[in-house]
Structure formats: structure tokens, C-alpha cells
């Protein structure tokens, strides 16, 4: 009897010790993030509070141009690889939960408003495929058919309110809305003749406007999601003023279009300029001359600064624009191939990948001084979990 009692106490205390140990290990995921190591097909899980690496994970395939969206609980990252790989990563446990190769050649993805669906944009086969975010089972296939049975590459895929996904057809010059609010068989609305060669798209931070950048034309195609019946409108028509654009050695990215001070800051294609557009009437407010052709123009979360990186071969420079004065207040030269930047959720730090130096640098955005750098193998995209709560990211 006494022996039995002692055993019970022993079991109880060991269980208690074990569970208190796991409580000690528990942590939130709001300060975590993923760094893409493009050439080695690996990622790092990092935390931005003490600025350390937590895990290395490999086996994610071809990660050129890879991007990540996060589950609404900020525990899982969905990594979209160039080779069509869709990998679900547990950022707390530091391991791959599931991986499928869903297409031949992919270009990013999005997660639905309710968090249940993950959509992937494909170059090959051209179209969008939608997956259950729990199981990664495919729930919908949307081939981007146009013309005489051709399939277009799809670009600029974002999520929008009402459990919708929006994307554009590069080869066809169309924008499509796929509405998943009623069922997993989406209702598709197509907007034709939006312009020549849409190469990327974005949704404004208030999730009202979808804007596609056009490679083949001087201008952008804008859709007001409050009034889709009004169709796609051309904005900033002829912003190049008929001048021949410079050759583009790296396409700008529109995910980073910045809304600050009531204006949108966006990279001009084929020009050494950041364009400033009023978000109320879509007219040009200003254009800011910069070091090279901008790739990303990212706004600090408070909208006071815009950080800009540049296309090859001028990609060794990073510039900071002060939104108030619309002038450049700092030029950094961290090294060749600055590929991406990401602000911490409240913007006190920015993380910058410097591919050819194999480091990620961290800057204090107030003092504009470098805080630290972390080693990373050919780093490209940096994605922090706070993206989980932002539309279009």
C-alpha cells in the first residue's frame, strides 16, 4: 500500500517536472521570421528580440524568388519555391510539417482571409492552384486560359476581403478575381485588356485597391474592389513621358509598395526614380531621383521612411527616403546584391539580406546605424510572422 502510494507520488512529481519544463520551453511566435537561403534550398528561423538564429531547415528545393505567407496563429510558414514546391514549416518546432510539389514552376502565393486556403501562382502550368492550409490537399485548380486554349503565366497573386484571391495574367493582360466565399469551387470574375504584360501586382494596405504593374506600357492598371463593376482603370498613364525606359536588369517587386503619408511610393520601371502617387486621386505627387532602378520601396510601419534597394548592377546600395521632406537622408553600401528588406512589426529595426557577402544585416531605423549582422548562405527574402495579420502579404 505504502509502496503504491510512493510510486504514485513519484509519477506525479515526474509528470509535474516534465510539464513545467515544457512550460519553460514555451514561447510565442510573434517575433519570429524566416530567411530564405536561395542557393542551398534552405531556410533559417530567426527571432528579432535578441536577433539570433533558432533553426536551420533544409530540403526545400529551388528557392530562387521564394516567398512566404503565415498561418493566422503565426505558427506555420508556407514557403513557395520556384520549382513548384509548397512547404509548410512549423516555425516554433523548426521543422517541415508537409511538402508538396504542386506545379512545375511557381511564383509566390497567398493565404485566404479565413486562413483556410493557400493559393499558389504558377508559370508552369499557367494558373493558380488552391490548397487546404491544414493538409495541403488541392481544393481548386484555376488554369489561366486565354485566347485559343493557351495558358498564361500568372503574377501578382494576393488575398482580398471576402475570401478572395486576385491575380493577373502576364501573357493575356487580364486580372481575375477568384471568390471562395461560398464554396471551394470559386466564382471567377475576369477583367480583360488591363494593359500589356502585367508583371506583378499588389493590394493597398487597406485592401481596397488592386494595382498591377505593366512592363509593356507606361502606366499601371488599378481595380477598386469596392466597385469592381467600374472595371480596371489606367493610372499614372505615361509616367515615363514617352522617354525610352532603360533596360531592366531586375524586375521591380510590387509587394513592397509603400503607403505612407496618404501617398503610395512605388518603383518606376526602367527609371532611376521612386514615384509618389496620391492614394486619394491616383495622380502623381512627386518623383524622387534615386541611385538606380528601384526593386523594392518599403515603408517603415509608421510611414515616416521609405527604404529602397536597386537592380543589378547597382544593387550594392540601400537608400532611405524621408517621407516628410521627400528627400534621401541616408545612403548605405553594405555589399553586392542587396535582395530584400523587412521591418520588424513596429519598425524599430530593418533586416536586410546582402547575398554576395552571405550576411543579413540589421539596422536601427532611428539612428540609421547597423546593430548586428548574422551569417546566412546567399540570403534573399526575409519574412517575419507579423505578416500573418496583414492583408495582401
Amino acid at each position: 500500500m505504502i509502496v503504491k502510494y510512493i510510486i504514485r507520488i513519484f509519477i506525479f512529481t515526474t509528470t509535474l517536472i516534465a510539464s513545467s519544463a515544457s512550460f519553460a520551453d514555451m514561447r510565442g511566435s510573434g517575433d519570429l521570421g524566416i530567411i530564405i537561403e536561395r542557393a542551398s534550398g534552405s531556410i533559417q528561423i530567426i527571432e528579432t528580440t535578441n536577433r539570433t538564429k533558432l533553426f536551420n531547415i533544409d530540403g526545400l528545393g529551388d528557392l530562387s524568388h521564394a516567398s512566404v505567407v503565415f498561418s493566422r496563429d503565426q505558427r506555420y510558414g508556407f514557403v513557395f519555391g520556384r520549382d513548384g514546391g509548397l512547404t509548410k514549416v512549423d516555425v516554433l518546432a523548426g521543422k517541415i510539417v508537409k511538402r508538396v510539389v504542386q506545379g512545375g514552376n511557381a511564383i509566390g502565393g497567398a493565404i485566404s482571409q479565413d486562413g483556410k486556403l493557400v493559393a499558389v501562382s504558377n508559370y508552369e502550368p499557367g494558373g493558380v492552384r488552391v490548397f487546404d492550409s491544414q493538409t495541403l490537399e488541392m481544393v481548386a485548380d484555376i488554369p489561366a486560359k486565354y485566347g485559343n486554349g493557351l495558358l498564361s503565366k500568372t503574377v501578382g497573386l494576393v488575398d482580398a476581403p471576402g475570401n478572395k484571391f486576385i491575380f493577373s495574367l502576364y501573357d493575356a493582360g487580364e486580372t481575375w478575381i477568384a471568390d471562395f466565399s461560398a464554396s471551394n469551387t470559386p466564382k471567377i470574375t475576369k477583367f480583360k485588356d488591363i494593359g500589356d504584360q502585367p508583371y506583378d501586382g499588389l493590394i493597398t494596405p487597406d485592401a481596397r485597391y488592386y494595382v498591377a504593374g505593366l512592363f509593356g506600357e507606361d502606366g499601371l492598371a488599378m481595380l477598386d474592389l469596392w466597385h469592381p463593376e467600374k472595371g480596371v482603370k489606367r493610372i499614372l498613364d505615361g509616367y515615363g513621358r514617352g522617354e525610352e525606359p532603360l533596360p531592366v536588369y531586375k524586375m521591380p517587386h510590387l509587394e513592397g509598395w509603400a503607403a505612407a503619408g496618404g501617398n503610395l511610393f512605388l518603383p518606376a520601371i526602367g527609371r532611376h526614380e521612386v514615384l509618389v502617387v496620391s492614394a486619394s486621386n491616383w495622380k502623381e505627387v512627386a518623383r524622387i531621383p534615386v541611385h538606380g532602378q528601384p526593386v523594392f520601396a518599403m515603408a517603415r510601419p509608421d510611414g515616416r521612411q521609405i527604404w529602397v534597394n536597386f537592380a543589378h548592377p547597382k544593387n550594392d546600395v540601400l537608400q532611405v527616403i524621408d517621407v516628410d521632406s521627400m528627400s534621401i537622408i541616408k545612403t548605405f553600401k553594405p555589399g553586392r546584391a542587396i535582395l530584400h528588406m523587412e521591418f520588424t512589426p513596429r519598425g524599430e529595426q530593418i533586416w536586410v539580406s546582402v547575398r554576395d557577402r552571405n550576411v543579413v544585416e540589421v539596422y536601427d531605423t532611428e539612428t540609421l546605424k547597423k546593430i548586428t549582422e548574422l551569417p546566412a548562405n546567399t540570403p534573399s527574402g526575409i519574412f517575419l510572422t507579423a505578416r500573418a495579420s496583414r492583408m495582401g502579404l
Binding site: 524568388h65 520556384r82 524586375m251 543589378h312
Partner: protein
């Protein structure tokens, strides 16, 4: 000079013929696809191909916004034409002219390497 001019006419002819052969061989190799960039420059070109061309054509060159550049995709295409595409770009598409940083010889070498395949930037 005096010495050479004092040589027999036959000897002079021999020197002349050797000189012509030598010049021909220099001319030949300068125009040949066998001519290669220096090893250091080769590494730079492969880095450029994988990392920067790879932005559009994929790190493994299996395609992206731009077409695939693997041996099976290029085998039926003329090498001179492909080198021209690299140097001059393709108007009306995002393919820019690379002649600002790549010479004709380098473009031809890149085409040859892409046709061979197995490119690795390490």
C-alpha cells in the same frame, strides 16, 4: 637586322611562311569558340548567370518569367543567335541587353556552357 638580311633568301622565305602561319593561328584562335575567358572571369560569369539571369530564368535555369535555358531547350538554336540575344536583348520583352558588361567572346562562351549544361555556381 643585319644578321637576318645576311641570311639566304630560302631562309628568309621560311621565316616569312612561319610568320604567316603564326598570324593565321592567332587569328584563328581569336575567332574560335574555343577561346575562353580567364578562369576568374569564368567564375564571375557563372555567378552572374545563376544569380542574376536566374532571377527570371530560375536558379537552375529551368525557366521563370523568362524561358528555360537547359541543354534540351537550346540544342536546336543557333549559338550565334543566342549570343546575340544575350548581348542585344529582345525588344518588347523584359530581356535586357547585357553588352554593357558582357563581351561577345564571353556571351559565346556562356552559350556553349549552357548547351553543355551542369552549371553550378560554387
Amino acid at each position: 637586322m643585319m644578321k637576318i638580311s645576311s641570311q639566304s633568301p630560302a631562309h628568309n622565305t621560311l621565316i616569312g611562311v612561319s610568320f604567316v602561319l603564326f598570324m593565321l593561328s592567332v587569328g584563328y584562335s581569336a575567332n574560335s569558340a574555343e577561346q575562353k575567358p580567364e578562369p576568374k572571369r569564368q567564375r564571375e560569369l557563372i555567378h552572374l548567370l545563376v544569380q542574376d539571369c536566374g532571377s527570371c530564368h530560375g536558379l537552375t535555369l529551368k525557366g521563370g518569367l523568362g524561358p528555360a535555358l537547359l541543354p534540351q531547350d537550346l540544342k536546336d538554336k543557333d549559338s550565334e543567335f543566342l549570343a546575340d540575344v544575350i548581348l542585344e536583348g529582345v525588344p518588347g520583352t523584359p530581356m535586357p541587353p547585357w553588352n554593357v558588361e558582357i563581351t561577345e567572346l564571353e556571351a559565346k562562351w556562356l552559350v556553349q556552357r549552357m548547351k553543355e549544361g551542369g552549371i553550378d555556381d560554387r
